[in-house]
């Protein structure tokens, strides 16, 4: 646990030591604001809620989270610092967890900085703050899911661009797993039970129910186990390929 905290602090500090943190936060805030007001017609709808804000989060994360995740391990490989990290008395699981948590907290900081939009909703009317809380929770968990996928993919390569592109594609598939685009493709190939299983993996389905204010334990378990699965795979990949 102590080692996880040490890695976590080093990683989080490194975001703010470079322009990465500031660029990410500014872009995230501008984009989420722009999407809410222009595409989401926040004012014209005449409703004091944040659904036009949250509805774009999956698409925003699709590109911004892989941009954060791509450097997690690919950069360690590129600079050779992975050799240093792996020869310190820290287990691979601790490094993977520490790095993941630092990136997740970092994205959460950006998410929390969207609070003015929550203030705006409360200023303009009386939104259901319970629903807003659930949606923030859903957004936070979904970001963790994207990030765990990205961290695992980043561990496979030295090249951050490759890590980014593959992560975007996998996240896109997870996002749309419940949509006709993906399901029709699988319907022709596999039995219905597997199609149903694929459909239940959809980020969008699980996030949407949380964004509507329904805190269903199954949705939370889904995201938590998804994160666990990808981080476990991440650990195994590092173990196997650390020196490549």
């Amino acid at each position: 646990m102590k080692n996880i905290i040490i890695i976590f602090k080093r990683e989080l500090g490194s975001y703010f030591a470079t322009p990465v943190a500031y660029v990410f936060i500014v872009i995230f805030l501008i984009m989420s604001g722009a999407l809410t007001f222009y595409l989401g017609n926040y004012y014209e709808r005449g409703q004091a809620d944040l659904s036009p804000f949250f509805v774009y989060h999956p698409w925003l994360y699709l590109f911004l989270v892989p941009a954060i995740a791509m450097r997690l391990w690919a950069e360690e490989r590129k600079t050779g610092s992975i050799e240093l990290l792996m020869t310190l008395p820290i287990s691979i699981g601790q490094s993977v967890t520490g790095k993941f948590l630092a990136a997740w907290v970092f994205i959460s900081i950006a998410l929390l900085l969207t609070f003015p939009i929550w203030l705006t909703a409360n200023y303009l009317g009386n939104p259901d703050n319970g629903v807003i809380f659930a949606a923030y929770l859903g957004s936070f968990l979904m970001a963790g899911g994207f990030l765990a996928i990205g961290s695992c993919i980043s561990a496979m390569t030295k090249n951050q661009v490759i890590a980014f592109i593959i992560t975007v594609v996998i996240c896109f598939l997870f996002l749309l797993a419940g949509s006709p685009l993906v399901l029709n493709f699988f319907k022709a190939l596999v039995p219905q039970s597997i199609v149903d299983a694929i459909s239940s993996l959809s980020f969008l389905t699980h996030f949407t129910s949380l964004a509507k204010g329904v805190i269903d334990l199954r949705d939370i378990i889904y995201f938590v186990s998804l994160i666990g699965f990808w981080l476990y795979a991440n650990t195994i990949i590092i173990e196997m390929k650390k020196a490549d």
């Binding site: 080093r10 500090g13 050799e83 792996m86 020869t87 310190l88 008395p89």
Partner: protein, 240 residues
Amino acid sequence: MIKVKNLSKKFGHLTAVDDISFEVKPGEVLGFLGPNGAGKSTTMKIITGFLTPTTGNVEVSGFDVTEQSIEAKKCIGYLPEGAPSYGEMTPAQYLEFIAQVRQLTGQNKIDRNREVIQHLHLKKVLNQSIETLSKGFKRRVGLAQAILHDPDVLILDEPTDGLDPNQKHEVRELIKSIAPNKVIIISTHILSEVDAICSRAIIIADGKILADDTPEGLRNKSSSNKMDDIFREITSGHIS
């Protein structure tokens, strides 16, 4: 104490290290010599637990490096080839991070920190990010990291590469001063360095140990009594 037993490492069809065995006792400074690609770095990477051996095993201070890797890593200070570190950190932050990982606390941490900064002349650059430092300073930051916790076993992969002659001299003095009671392995291309600091030298080529002797002993094998000549003769297969 390091015990290497029948160690082999294969990368696909390539055998980087081919069934080597040796022991290093406290107080010994072992120089690893050999042409590029001979298996020096690979052997060091296995000893430090970065690579897992294909066959054979390595014991460091009584711990098997694959079975009890965390315990073994605690006893080792390691400078990887090229001295990689986290470029966006300053040496001060970096050493603080290493001190935390190495579980140094209180007065001991302050003393150790001061000592390595003084030994390696890092005071001037403490608050400058590592990526902006010269090659020599980067190397010294890497060395500082390796010796910070005063380890029993020190593995240094080309510690003086990229340093100017004065800095080389200082690093050699540093290694000599900490050598008693420690197990030290250094790899180098500079043969005079072996004479200057090593109590023993192993010449390795194509993953095999070709010679294992004191620097004097090695030189005596050559007709000209020169380290360079004996190195060339052994590694190019004129004598074995």
